[in-house]
Symmetry: C2
Subunit: 383 residues, 2 copies
Amino acid sequence: MIFSAQASDPESKARTGHLDLPHGSVETPVFMPVGTNATVKAITNEQLEDLGIRLVLGNTYHLFLRPGLEVLERCGGLHSFMSWEHNILTDSGGFQIFSLAPFRKIEEEGVMFRSHLDGTSLRLTPEEVVDFQRVLGSDVLMPLDLCTPPGIGEQEALDAVELTTRWAGRSRSRWLQSEQNSGGYLFGIIQGNFFSHLRRRSAEQLLELDLSGYAIGGLSVGESFPVFQEYLSLSAELIPEHYPRYLMGVGTPEYILEAVEQGIDMFDCVFPTRTARNAQAFTRRGPLSLKTEAVKLDLEPIDPECSCTTCRRYSRAYLRHLFKTKEILAAMLTTQHNLAFLQSLLVSIRRSIREGCFRSFKESYLRGYREHRENQNELNGER
Amino acid sequence: MIFSAQASDPESKARTGHLDLPHGSVETPVFMPVGTNATVKAITNEQLEDLGIRLVLGNTYHLFLRPGLEVLERCGGLHSFMSWEHNILTDSGGFQIFSLAPFRKIEEEGVMFRSHLDGTSLRLTPEEVVDFQRVLGSDVLMPLDLCTPPGIGEQEALDAVELTTRWAGRSRSRWLQSEQNSGGYLFGIIQGNFFSHLRRRSAEQLLELDLSGYAIGGLSVGESFPVFQEYLSLSAELIPEHYPRYLMGVGTPEYILEAVEQGIDMFDCVFPTRTARNAQAFTRRGPLSLKTEAVKLDLEPIDPECSCTTCRRYSRAYLRHLFKTKEILAAMLTTQHNLAFLQSLLVSIRRSIREGCFRSFKESYLRGYREHRENQNELNGER
């Protein structure tokens, strides 16, 4: 078992613990920044380390295309290539094949697709995805899965669940055969679209494989917050407590707090880093746009309550100027802040769970977070 | 006098010293990174400080357009705005008006031009340039000048020299009237195109104004290296040794070494930062392109002899991948290296002058620097 629970909140399913991974122990609940192309965009490894980040996500699809197998193999795997001595979770590539590739065809054997970069025809089977992640030296491997969009029919969702299960079985066999020095644990991904009995079916089938942890896929894909809550709760409950629970694609304070309350231990999202590059910053009082006229002469830091290296030194007025002039430093400083902000939120969450007051922490946090936002309707659309 | 000489090389005009400026003392010879829009591109102030950089350049033209007078005034000047507590030299804006503005008209009173951003008609007089630099709180102010392109006739070059002198006189009057808490010293800019008697005339006229230092303008504008050497030598000799001598637009090892040998104390150039963003890195063995196939599997750092934070951690193969995937980190890491490389060169230059062996240092350095380049003809074009 790679997961050890520590404290549990008496009033909810929130819990702290740690993941024992090949490149060190990781405290949970944990937010994993996304390092698509072997770099978390616009921030150095040194800065990530200074923020206490010990687990980042890499995108199998992107790394498969660039730099590709040969370079990663010759450079000694992803840790060595990107000079990151802490943990790396790599996704399965499935989500990117569906969202980025201009063409794809699903077969029992695997998925055929064209690269979004140059149109090259490529194929990935569950076995090849495991093999590639072994070359990467991933600490956590995700098996090739089929993530379906909301709104499809039940039969299509059922077929996707069944195929995801068969692929998970093949992934597990390959993973067991390919045990290497680096270790690395294989998770399962629960699908089932927005059909509760299919979610249950997916979980039951995957649990039979006794994988190292379980992820919840196919949520946070555009559904309303109440629907998200319902399917999150339902899916999280299906994962026994001795497994780490990973909710894919979540990275805002509101979604993170909800996920933690439902017993989730791990989450990842491009949101904090992508929106940083688009001048959207987290604050204790809700999101703040750094491009608006409103901050033109604002000498406050992004968040006066934040003690990150950006907030200790730079003003909103200066950041606005950097965004207006399209300076790289704008993305650098705002990315640093957004990740520091989430790290600090996670520290507070873990502390509140240990102190048995997660629920009141959550309520008070969201009160402050939403209060301001209600006055900033123009920022409401994005998440 | 803001300049104090310390050591002199017995075999050349090379010298060390320091500049006493309002925001601290600066060792010379010094390379000043260019911070066009109130940021040295792709690097934080913390990193600049860690590199020992205590003097950066700001572009009056760019800052005048964005964020503009109101913001800079309300934010307490440029140091406060960009959170840089060390020294700032601001150029006159003249060079940018001539290289960037889609339209400009020179009159006795000043220069009319259109913004390259939105076409707005603007005017800058020598007095307004000084006033704006006072708002910026510049430690070294450069007066509005007329920099002419190579190949013009003698009369045109003479007229430009005379106008530059009259503008320098008006700048000096305004500067004397506007003495503020921040201090800030006004330099003169020697012009004269490629006519030796006009260079002499320009220097003589400007020296009568007894400004705080003298810059050499209009060199390194595309002329051959021997022509550059000739006019550099001639111009540098015209500046008495109790003044700091500033050569504008120079920032490669070969040009810096040449300038130091001719008694230059200060230089600036966008080259190290701009080429870094275009995947060109300095090494002890000449420039290295980080985009070539040749470094695809190269696990060496940019420069094995360099101890900067980039070279301590990242390989050429990884940097190539970052450039190929257009990652911001590529610009960040290479900018850091190129500036660290020049800082380290300047430390070695100052040491060799103090130890009385600048000439042999220069020769041995250039031997290593050029040896490799002769095998890399494809890189020869750029400087």
